[in-house]
Each structure stands twice: as structure tokens, then as C-alpha cells.
């Protein structure tokens, strides 16, 4: 009964979405406030209805109601509760339901917090946002209904793919979707602006926090996925340039560019047309990501052709919104007034460089991802585009970008003094060179480019801190004065520093683990010892063990360093009960210097095991960097200047004496 209730709520949501698509926009065109006001209650009821549907499906998973086809296909009664819950979005139908739920939440946020938006803009935004929901609700109800029943109901479900039964992966999709879908608001605002034929600083001021929120979620979502791949897939790779990864990386690149260009638009009224275009493209890339992952076109063009129903539907949605958005853009972009003149050497100029490089990087990833598909469908020729291509094209593009990162925030708007900015970065530059020399001296192997990579990472980190040091006059004024300035810094500025610092830390992690990884693949019999990266590992043997829904063989390695005990690693080979499928659980010892990583392989005839030992230097910095970027975004988001939608609160502590950005 609850299931039918959820199904019914979803159909009602579709009807509400249809009404919300038409009525507020019509009201905006007619300048009728009553019609425009329809958007708010509609957006709220839409989110409530979809939430009911979502909770109904979650209920079916929690109580293991196998009369629901979706539950029977993806869950199992022996599964721990957390994975029964995460199982809701661990499959196609449920994940699409989560997709529209988040979409509706973002729409409702405009309805609830958008009181100070111009009424017509808000009405148009709500209509556009709802049209996206309408398309995806239709998609769910027609091709991917999660509420279909089975009769007779099976005794038990088929279970969730065991490699997906993992805490990081349980919450990877919700974050990823909040990122993907969060960009829908930027899209809706862009289309609404094009419908009205004008934008202003208030527009950018509204779009920026939502884009920032989406960007933060996407950052953490991608980082979670990468972390999961690192410890679960069994050899410590953390990024594979896999099309599925690229599908989430492209909106991230475009979204990062959008964040920066919206800044120019908000502060200086410049780059308006470009920002609108970028807003449309960022969400289009999110839609494309959904299409690539959901249509099965990636696994093979043939699989897509064999069962094209869903794929064609998502493709049509993608083409409709991308094409519609771009057509409207082509038609109306001329009407948008451009303002704000600036010279190439200026904050705006730096942000333009950021946008040129990020957009080019994004196009490179796009081409690399889609080229094999396009070539095969056009000519039948099959080629592979893998990591070597992206390392040769994308990575070099990031070098100039990273070199310029510390400069940007130090340049003044309109026209800046490059020499003065460089002067403030002397300390950072010296530190970076020092690190490079030390890296050259200390390391005996690894590519010659790696020390340069470290230097760039340190340059970005130290540069970010230099900018804050300059702002608070560290060393130029008494410490108490610097402290006062620090506490009064706008949070957006602190957020920028943190986010840039995180980027630098991530670069160091990437360089460290890519260039200086150690690896030993060998046969080990109980009692044997192997040394790697200064650690000695003694293999004590392997024994079977039983978990809640799997059996496993656990290997035991005692780790010492210079004779002192460090830790015990227990890598395991698991076989899950349902579906019966083997997975490998790595044994990992984390330290600041890097991760010791042990994988247990198959038993050989003579009682020995195939064993793989790795040392991944600095690898944690990759995810710590991403986490710092996330928190940088969060601090920036808490800046009251960005919270246009929040209730106006008088600041008791006006930041006197600190130049506003």
C-alpha cells in the first residue's frame, strides 16, 4: 500500500511540475503577480510529493519488501541496514528518483529563500527548474519506474553488488548528484535571465552561492569516489580517466570556471554573456554525465543500440535542454549589456585566464571521452583513448593555471600592478624553489618533472597563504593588529585562501604518489619477510573468517620499521553471500609520509600466497586537499555577503578597515 502511495505521489508530482512549468512563466510574461506567485507553493508541494515517493521506496528497502521489483533486484534480507538504505540509490531507478528529489529541493530553495529576487525572475527560474523536473519525472514514470510490483514475490532479493557495499560509496552518489543537480539552478537562472533579456549584479550574487554549494558537493563526491577506488579496487589507483569519472569531472571543471567568472560578473558587471553561457554549459555537462552513465552507451555502443529506450530518452532530455538553452542564448545574448572595462593585467584578466584554461581542459576531457564513441558510430573504427592521452593533453594545460593561481587574488580589479603582486609572492617563490632543489637532491628515482610538480604545489599553497599574510599585514604591523585584521577578513577571502591551499596540497599528493610509488609483487609463505619503503613486513599466514554477509580469508602482516613494531595489516579476500562474488579488501597503514598498502592474492600450490605490497607516498594529501577545498567553499558560503537569501541580519561587527573585495 505504501508503495502504491509513493507511486501515486510521484504521478502527482509530475502534474504539479507540469503546472509549475507553465503557470509562473506565463504570469511573468503577462506581469500577473497572482500567476507568478503560483510558483512558490507549487515548488514546495513538488518537493514534498517527491520526498514521499522517495521515502516510500526507502521503506520498501528497509523492510525488504521483495514484492517490489526494484527491491528484489537490488537488495537482500541479510544486508546491513545502512546498505539497505544506500541500496535505494545504488540502482538505476532509485538513483533517478534521488536525482529529481535533489532537483526539486533546489527548486524549493528558490521558492523559500528567494524573497528578495525580482518577482518575474523568480517566476521564470521556478518554471525552468520545474521543466527539468517534468522531463525527468516523465523519464522515471515511463522507462524506469521504481514502484513496479512482482507477483509472486520472490523469497529473497538478488543483493547489491558487493563492491558497492562500502561506506564511502554509500554516500558518494548523493553528493555527486547534489553537485550535478545543483548546477541546474545556475542553468535556470541563466535561461530566466535570457527570457527577460537582462542580468545584473544581483543575478550573479544569487547564482554564486548556489553554484558554490553545488561545486562543494561535486568536489567531495568526486573525492569520495576516488578514495573508494583507491582502497577498494585493489592496487591503489585513485583516478583512471574512466569515462564515468570524466562524466563527473567535466561539470566540475566547468563549474569551477563558472564560480570564477560569476565573481567577475558580480563585482565588476563584466563577462556577463560568458557567465550565462558557462551556466548553460555546466548544467548541460551534468546532463551529459547522467546520459553517459545511465544509458549504457559507455560500456559499448552496441549495448546502447540493443536497448535504446532509456538512453534515447535521456539523450532527448539532454539535447532539449542544451539545445534549447543554447538557442535562446544565441537569440538573446546580444541584448545583454556588457559593462566593466578592464586591462589584461587585472583581477578580471587573471580570472579570464582561469576560465580559458579550465574551459580548454574541460573540452579536452570531453573530446577524449566522446571521440571513440563518435568515431565508432560514424566510421566503425574502434580506438581507445585512455590515461596516456589525458596525461599528455590535460595535465600540461593545468601547469600555467596552477602557476597563475596565487597571482589572481593579489591583483587589483580593473588595472593591476603585476610587479607589486609578484613582489608579495617572493617568499612563496623562494620556498617553492627550495622544495624543488631538496626534491632533486633527496629522490634517487622518479621522473625529472616530479620536483617541478612539488614546486608548483608548494607555490600554490604558499602563495595562498602569502595573500592572506599580505591582507592582514603580517610582519608589517604589530601582531595584535594582524590578528584583528585576520578575524575581520571577509569569510569569502578566507574561503578562497583555503580552497587554493587545498589545490596546492592535492597537487603535492598527486605528484608524490604518481612519481614515487613503490611496488612489490611476490609469493610469500608464512614466516617470510619483505622490505618496502623502509618498512619490513612479516607474513604470519592467512585464516578464514566470517562476516555478516560474507566469508573471507584474512592475511596477517606484522609491520616493523627499524625493528620497532608499527602496525598489523590484515588484507582480505572476501566472497559475498548474495550475489556470490569475490572482492579484495586491502590492508592499509596510513601515515603523513604515505600509505603502506597490502593486497592478498590467490593461494598457490605450495602454501604461499601471491602478495602485492605498495607504498603510496603523500597519497592522503589528494583527499585532504579536496576536503580543504570543500571547507574553503563552506566558509565562503557562510559569508553573509553571499547569503542574499538568508534573513537580513545586522552585523554587530562591521569589518572596518579591511578593504572590501
Amino acid at each position: 500500500m505504501i508503495i502504491e502511495f509513493g507511486h501515486f505521489a510521484l504521478i502527482l508530482a509530475l502534474l504539479v511540475a507540469a503546472a509549475q512549468t507553465i503557470i509562473p512563466a506565463w504570469g511573468a510574461a503577462k506581469r500577473d503577480p497572482r500567476l507568478m506567485a503560483f510558483g512558490e507553493p507549487a515548488a514546495v508541494s513538488q518537493v514534498v510529493l517527491i520526498l514521499i515517493a522517495f521515502l516510500a521506496l526507502m521503506y520498501a528497502y528497509v523492510v525488504s519488501d521483495f514484492s517490489v521489483a526494484n527491491v528484489a533486484a537490488n537488495s537482500h534480507s541479510s544486508k546491513p541496514l545502512i546498505y539497505r538504505i544506500s541500496g535505494v540509490w545504488g540502482n538505476h531507478e532509485g538513483s533517478m528518483l534521488l536525482w529529481v528529489l535533489i532537483l526539486a529541493i533546489f527548486g524549493a530553495a528558490v521558492a523559500l529563500f528567494g524573497n528578495n529576487l525580482p518577482a518575474a525572475l523568480r517566476a521564470n527560474v521556478l518554471s525552468v527548474q520545474s521543466s527539468i523536473a517534468l522531463a525527468f519525472l516523465l523519464f522515471i514514470l515511463i522507462t524506469s519506474n521504481p514502484f513496479e510490483r512482482l507477483d509472486p514475490a520472490p523469497l529473497d532479493g538478488r543483493g547489491l553488488n558487493p563492491i558497492l557495499q562500502d561506506p564511502a560509496l554509500a554516500f558518494h552518489p548523493p553528493f555527486l548528484y547534489m553537485g550535478y543537480v545543483g548546477f541546474s539552478l545556475a542553468f535556470s537562472f541563466a535561461v530566466a535571465a535570457l527570457i527577460e533579456g537582462r542580468t545584473d549584479a544581483a543575478w550573479a550574487r544569487w547564482v554564486r552561492p548556489w553554484t558554490l554549494l553545488a561545486w562543494m558537493c561535486l568536489t567531495i563526491g568526486i573525492a569520495m569516489g576516488s578514495w573508494w577506488a583507491y582502497y577498494e579496487l585493489g592496487w591503489g589507483g585513485w583516478w583512471f580517466w574512466d569515462p564515468v569519472e570524466n562524466a563527473s569531472f567535466m561539470p566540475w571543471l566547468a563549474g569551477t570556471a563558472l564560480l570564477h567568472s560569476a565573481l567577475v560578473m558580480e563585482k565588476r558587471e563584466a563577462l556577463k554573456v560568458w557567465t550565462i553561457l558557462l551556466a548553460i554549459l555546466t548544467f548541460s555537462l551534468s546532463l551529459m554525465g547522467t546520459f553517459l552513465v545511465r544509458s549504457g552507451v559507455l560500456s559499448s555502443v552496441h549495448a546502447f543500440a540493443v536497448d535504446p529506450g532509456r538512453g534515447v530518452f535521456v539523450l532527448s532530455i539532454m539535447l532539449l535542454f542544451t539545445g534549447g538553452g543554447l538557442a535562446l542564448f544565441a537569440y538573446r545574448a546580444r541584448d545583454l549589456a556588457q559593462g566593466g572595462i578592464f586591462s589584461p593585467i587585472s583581477r578580471e584578466g587573471a580570472l579570464v585566464l582561469n576560465n580559458v584554461l579550465l574551459t580548454t581542459g574541460c573540452v579536452t576531457v570531453l573530446v577524449g571521452t566522446l571521440y571513440p564513441l563518435a568515431l565508432e558510430s560514424l566510421t566503425g573504427a574502434k580506438i581507445s583513448v585512455g590515461a596516456p592521452y589525458f596525461n599528455m593533453t590535460f595535465v600540461p594545460l593545468m601547469f600555467p593555471l596552477l602557476l597563475a593561481v596565487p597571482l589572481g587574488p593579489l591583483l587589483a580589479w580593473k588595472r593591476a600592478d603585476l610587479a607589486a603582486a609578484m613582489q608579495r609572492l617572493i617568499a612563496a617563490g623562494v620556498l617553492a624553489l627550495l622544495v624543488m632543489v631538496i626534491a632533486f637532491a633527496v629522490t634517487e628515482r622518479g621522473p625529472w618533472l616530479a620536483p617541478f610538480g612539488f614546486a608548483i604545489g608548494v607555490w600554490v599553497m604558499a602563495g595562498a597563504l602569502s595573500e592572506t599574510a599580505f591582507r592582514i599585514k603580517l610582519g608589517q604591523a604589530p601582531l595584535s593588529e594582524s590578528w584583528r585584521r585576520l578575524t575581520n577578513l571577509p569569510r569569502a577571502s578566507v574561503g578562497t585562501t583555503l580552497a587554493h591551499f587545498g589545490v596546492g596540497l592535492m597537487v603535492c599528493g598527486i605528484v608524490g604518489t604518481s612519481a614515487y610509488k613503490s611496488e612489490e609483487i611476490l609469493l610469500m609463505r608464512p614466516g617470510e619477510t619483505k622490505a618496502i619503503a623502509g618498512y619490513e613486513l612479516v607474513f604470519r599466514g592467512a585464516a578464514p573468517s566470517k562476516g555478516p554477509n560474507y566469508t573471507e580469508i584474512v592475511g596477517v602482516f606484522d609491520v616493523t620499521r627499524n625493528g620497532n613494531p608499527v602496525t598489523r595489516l590484515e588484507p582480505a579476500k572476501r566472497i559475498y553471500d548474495a550475489p556470490p562474488q569475490p572482492t579484495s579488501e586491502a590492508g592499509i597503514y596510513a601515515s603523513w609520509g604515505g600509505d603502506l598498502y597490502a593486497v592478498l592474492g590467490d593461494q598457490q600450490g605450495d602454501g604461499g600466497f601471491a602478495v602485492r605490497l605498495y607504498f603510496h607516498p603523500l597519497v592522503r594529501f589528494i583527499w585532504i586537499g579536496a576536503l580543504i577545498m570543500f571547507f574553503g567553499g563552506a566558509i565562503s558560503l557562510s559569508d553573509r555577503r553571499l547569503r542574499v537569501g538568508a534573513p537580513q541580519k545586522r552585523s554587530t561587527r562591521a569589518p572596518i578597515g579591511v578593504p572590501a573585495e
Binding site: N161, F240, Q338, G339, V352, V385, P388, T393, L523, P582
Partner: protein, 166 residues
Amino acid sequence: MRAALSRIVMIFVGCVLLASGAAQAVTPQEILPDKALEARARDISAGLRCLVCQNQSIDDSDAPLAHDLRVLVRERLTAGDSDTQVREFVVARYGDFVLLKPPFSAATLLLWLMPLLALAGAALILWNSFGQPTRTSSAAPSSGSLSADEQAALDALLRKDEPGKS
């Protein structure tokens, strides 16, 4: 037609194997005693695609075909082939599809030139934003089609939000 069908079956089998999680990839038995030769083998392997997998190199994959290819690469190296000769040998058997870095050819011209074209394109579009007064920039910014009331409301909003600026 039959070829296409068998390819689908192959991909399917590959995916099943891929989904089996426990990556074994290079096994101790495969490793060559000669360290330099083994390092070259690993290097070549990282650039060769496991044909039945989704975007995995034979170095990372535990599919049986990847194992066969790894052994083949090592056999050729032991026989004295250069890196290029090994790659050519594998490509002769399996086609360009096996290379994770596609060769520069007429078919991949756009693939390799696109980053440069995109760089030029993006730079061109954004170059226009430098210092060129556009036709409306002489008017007060953003006053284009705002009514007096709206402008006042907007100004109030901006003022209220930025106490540091006023």
C-alpha cells in the same frame, strides 16, 4: 554480423570478469627476473588496453586475456624486441583499439588538435572582454532596462549587504 555478436559476448564476459573485483593484475609468476626488462614490460603494459575490459590497461586488469597479453609482451621483450616493435606486434594482431594512446592519424586528427583549437577558441572569445567598451557601457552599469523603482531596490540591497563598502 557474427563478428559484432561475438564482440558483444566478449564485452559482456569482460564486464563480468571486471565486476569480480579482486584485481590480481600482474602475478608473481609473470614477472621477469631481469629488472630492466620487467620495468619496460610494465611501461608497455600500462599503454595497452585490456580488450575485454572497460578502460583498463592490461597492467591493471585481471582478465585472462590481459594475462595472455602480459605474457606475450614479456616473451617479445625477452626475444629482444624493442618497445616499439612489441607495440607494433600487438597492434598488428589487435588493431589500434589496443593502444590507450591513439596514434596520430587522419581519423584522430581532431582528437589531437582539439585541445589547441579549444584553447584558441576560448582565448578568442574571452579576449574580447578586455578593455573594449561595448555599446551600452557608457550608460550607468546595469541600468539597461531596470525601472527606477527596481534600481532603487537593487541599490538598497547592495548597500545593505556590504557594510564594509559604504
